[in-house]
């Protein structure tokens, strides 16, 4: 397909990250996901287009949004602004009429639609100056959402990066047909590959573990530049038996690097912004002791382990 006919959807760019691959990286978060992990840090990334996000700190309760929205997404009760994100069509009409949502820095806006749609070329043009700054000391990481769902657009984007000698990483949860991987693997220098052998009652939210293992096995025959990434969620994904399963997958495929991501206690931020409740109850951060045990277990199996605490 011709490039100009392909679009790429993303919901955020982090210009400088030290935790998403080698060196300092610009991370592009692609919109859309085929999983619905309850511990997901970016629930607004899951649908094709994010619903409206609300930051009530910047709302002056002028009611313009209430008046212009045909879907009745906005309502104000007792001087508090609420949204019904399920009804939101992401038309942006409320934002256009909101005086407090025009800041170029979206984190200072009351209302915000994060999903942007553009062509791979335009996206590359946008990040190119920063990538040229990071050229010899890092590169670009494509994350999500599940970026592999947009593998066709990604193919184009990564080609531009390759022709500019920019180091490329892709972070995936692995639950997509293998030919997606095959179509772009030559353009990806380094993979961040999620494996989540979660407790049974949670398995319906994540990709089929066998598909994931199958994919990582086949991918590792094409490249060894794969780092396994595992979120550590208390009582969901923190048991020795689960870790052992990951270890065996890694050994089978000669993979030696893993990154552990303990649950981020600020995860509820975007749930609030969407007007939803965060469904996991209590503190989901694994105990430090448990993290140490897991680390020891991995290290004893000759797996290089890094713990990434996201703030």
């Amino acid at each position: 397909m011709k490039e100009e006919k392909i679009s790429i959807r993303y919901f955020g760019i982090k210009w400088n990250s030290k935790t998403d691959g080698k060196g300092i990286r610009t991370v592009i978060y692609l919109q859309g996901c085929n999983q619905s992990c309850p511990w997901c840090h970016s629930p607004h990334s899951q649908p094709q287009i994010s619903p409206i996000l609300l930051n009530p700190d910047y709302c002056s309760r002028c009611r313009y949004c209430v008046n212009v929205c045909n879907q009745n997404v906005h309502f104000i009760q007792e001087n508090k602004h609420y949204t019904n994100s399920e009804a939101c069509l992401s038309c942006g009409n409320c934002i256009e009429h909101c005086n407090n949502s025009q800041n170029q820095n979206s984190s200072l806006n009351a209302l915000y639609l994060p999903t942007k749609e553009t062509t791979p070329y335009e996206l590359f043009q946008k990040v190119q100056p920063q990538l040229s700054l990071l050229k010899d000391i890092g590169g670009v990481t494509i994350s999500g959402g599940e970026p592999m769902l947009q593998h066709k657009a990604l193919n184009h984007f990564l080609s531009y990066c390759n022709s500019h000698q920019i180091h490329t990483s892709v972070e995936t949860s692995g639950g997509v047909p293998f030919y997606y991987f095959k179509s772009i693997h030559k353009l990806v220098k380094h993979w961040l590959f999620g494996i989540r052998p979660v407790a049974k009652e949670y398995s319906k939210y994540v990709a089929n573990i066998n598909t994931v293992i199958n994919n990582i096995s086949r991918l590792s025959r094409l490249t060894k530049n794969i780092t396994v990434r595992v979120p550590l969620i208390k009582n969901i994904l923190d048991k020795p038996i689960q870790i052992k399963k990951i270890i065996s997958v890694m050994h089978q495929n000669n993979l030696s690097h893993i990154e552990l991501l303990p649950f981020n206690p600020y995860t509820d931020h975007y749930y609030k912004a969407m007007g939803n409740n965060f469904s996991l109850q209590g503190n989901c951060s694994p105990d430090n002791k448990n993290v140490d045990t897991i680390t020891d277990l991995l290290e004893s199996e000759n797996i290089k382990t890094k713990i990434i605490q996201i703030k």
Binding site: C62, N105, P129, L133, I137, K311
Partner: protein, 845 residues
Amino acid sequence: MEKMMKGSTPRVTKLLQKMYDRSFTDRTNEWFSKTDLPNVAKRSKDEDRSLFLRRALALKVMLKEMTKKENSENTHCCEIKEGELIVGNIPMGSLGFGKVFPNYLTREEKEVAYFSSRDVESVLGHNAPDYSKLLTMGLKGIMDVCNRELKKIEEKEKNPPNKLETLDKRRRIFYQSVIISCNAVIDYANCFAVLVEEKAEHAPQDKKDELLEVARICRKVPYEPAESFHEALQSIYFLHLTFHASTSHVSFGRLDQVLEPCLNKSLTKGEINLEQAQELIECFFIKCAERLTTTMEFAVDQDFADYATGMGNSPFLVDQEATINQFMQNIVIGGQTKTGNDATNQCTYLILDACSSLGIITPIVNLRLHKNSPQKLVEKAARVALNGNNGLPIIYNDEVIVPALQLNKKLPKEETYDYIVDGCWEVLLNGKCDFTYNMVNMLTVMECALNRGALLSASTMELRGKKESYLSKKPEDIKTYKEFKDEFWKHLNLFVRKAGMQVYSNYCLEGSVTPVPLFSSLLGTCLERGIDKTNGGAEFNIGGVVYIAMPNAANSLASIKKWVFEEKKYELKDVANALRHNFGVDIPNEKKNTDYLRWNQMRIDFLSTPKFGNNQSYVDEEMKWLIDISYDILKDAEEACDEIYLSTPKDENQRRRINRLRRMVGYSGNSMKETYGDKFKILFSAGCGTFAQYALFGSGCAASADGRLRGEPVAPNFSPTSGTAQNGEGAIFSSLKNLGLNKYAAGAIIDVCIPKDEINKDKIQSIYKKFIESNGSILSLTIPGAENIQKAYETCNEVREEIKEQEALKDFADLNVRVGGWNGPFITLTEVQQRDYMNRRITKN
């Protein structure tokens, strides 16, 4: 909070701790009181003395007062601290707090000087002496020149019929003033020699030798040339403290070049090793920084800034909170030699190490880089930037600044390679030029273009607003974008010409109240010619015109281009009205009408228009246009000023015409070349910046078409308006690439702030290289811990609301950020500046 042990040796650590402890206390009593200082122009016989001699005598009196032990109980000026290797003390004073100096003006002079906002303290400073001259000649050598020339003048006088010319009379007074000043400094140094010797008497043996060595040095320099590294530092410090005590707040110039010969000598002879050299230079830095104030609790009590004590040309702009730690002491290092070779030397690294080892904000270390700077230097600078926590070094791009200076054909090539910076960041020639400056606010120009030469104030007293410029076209009669730009050009032209003439009149005034004979003796040809720098003594004179709020103006142009002339959604008249009424945001809810809805929508559209610093050519080309025209207009203004102030009419008709013009600008003399010498001319150089006053300048401006509301700060310096850079630092630099900053010889400084968790040493190196490649001019990079800044901000707010005691801020006393023309402790900034600073971070898009 993470506190690091600072200083390369325990001695330095102790001295630094003492300095910080004092910086957080009430220092009001440390100030000299003007009423207690002797008045040099009190007796009628004093009044007969020339102004120059009185100024020199006042300097002598000041240094004398600083060595009186009875004064020192309060001022701490005549004391030696435990472990000091460099001695002497600078009395309290800073740009924000003001300065104190003995009066030397007669009552009559004082009253008149006040009309032009001049007083004995209103020395502009903003320059740096030629310290290599001091080190090679010593004050002895300088006085030898004076005596030789005085003798020649005397002989001329003895030989009638040659009546002594006015010029020689003036030269005689100049030399006499220099001699008085030099002797005063030598006396001061000897006083300290005695003080150190006294201390040595009671000291244990191991300390004794060290003290006696310091005493020996004080007896030798600054009188004699300096030989060792220690002597060089002490000699420079004596002169530096003298300048700062006599209200000349001046910088150090290219200190690495100045010190290198002495360092080499000392190392070769084996007098010291590199570690000792490091300790010495750190002691020197601390001596310069001792006036630091890190609490605002007693700031008002310490406000000693009189009406006319600022800098003469703009007294009202400087006595603000954010300038209390601006001492105007810049050090320039690195760069190129006069022949264009890399100038990095051992001392360059020594100074960089001191900068990160101490982590203090003053003296400010400015590093010149060019495309052939050694990789080792770039790497070291990046390390210093990461570890110093003081936002230093500031980076200067030789590849842009040198060509900008070379655009001026009057400047010899070798001098352009040898540039330095003044007290803030404006570019000057090393030890050869005098400097004065003026500023033009681009948003004021924009208001005039939209409102027929008047400001867009919504005052009910004025018909249209305060008139500042020509009565120009009505907005409804401006039909195309080009026509609008033409209007803008006309108004800018007026403001720049005015600023240019102001530069000349400032120059004329400077010498009338505040000649600086001692400083002049270390500047260019002043000593040899016997003429003060305020009277045309220096070889070159630079007049900087600094443009304010250029990013706001470029963004405003983009908005108007897009929404008025391309989309045709709004009429220009409508825009002017919306800005006049602050986009209607002040209209109470019940009165919100259709106007309000339209203005509100207009602001929304304006805010969403591309903004400078995001690599978007739609707006960057407007910035390029502003740079082009502001440079061209300034060159025209320079020619106009040359004709008015400098031309020598060839015939009677011309004479009459020029005289008419001169009277019209309030100047009625002959060509200034007759007064100041044949070579006299002020070379204009353009720059862009706001210093710390981005909030102050913004507070006086109406809303602007970039979506900024009335009174909000303008863009700090040449940086993208706070919060509008959204495409990474890389995009800011890409925006600079084709602007043509190599026309701005005074420099254009970008302040970038990147949180610590987004950066490492490699990235800083990459930023420096990219900045050089992108044709940037000057760069400041501050790397705060994001959480720490947030905590400091919240604590400041709690202290402002009196929920917490001042003491709570002490933990943040060494948290340093970019202020504008310098760096300062975050906790001493105003709330609006703190917010503006935090908002500069480039966030997730």
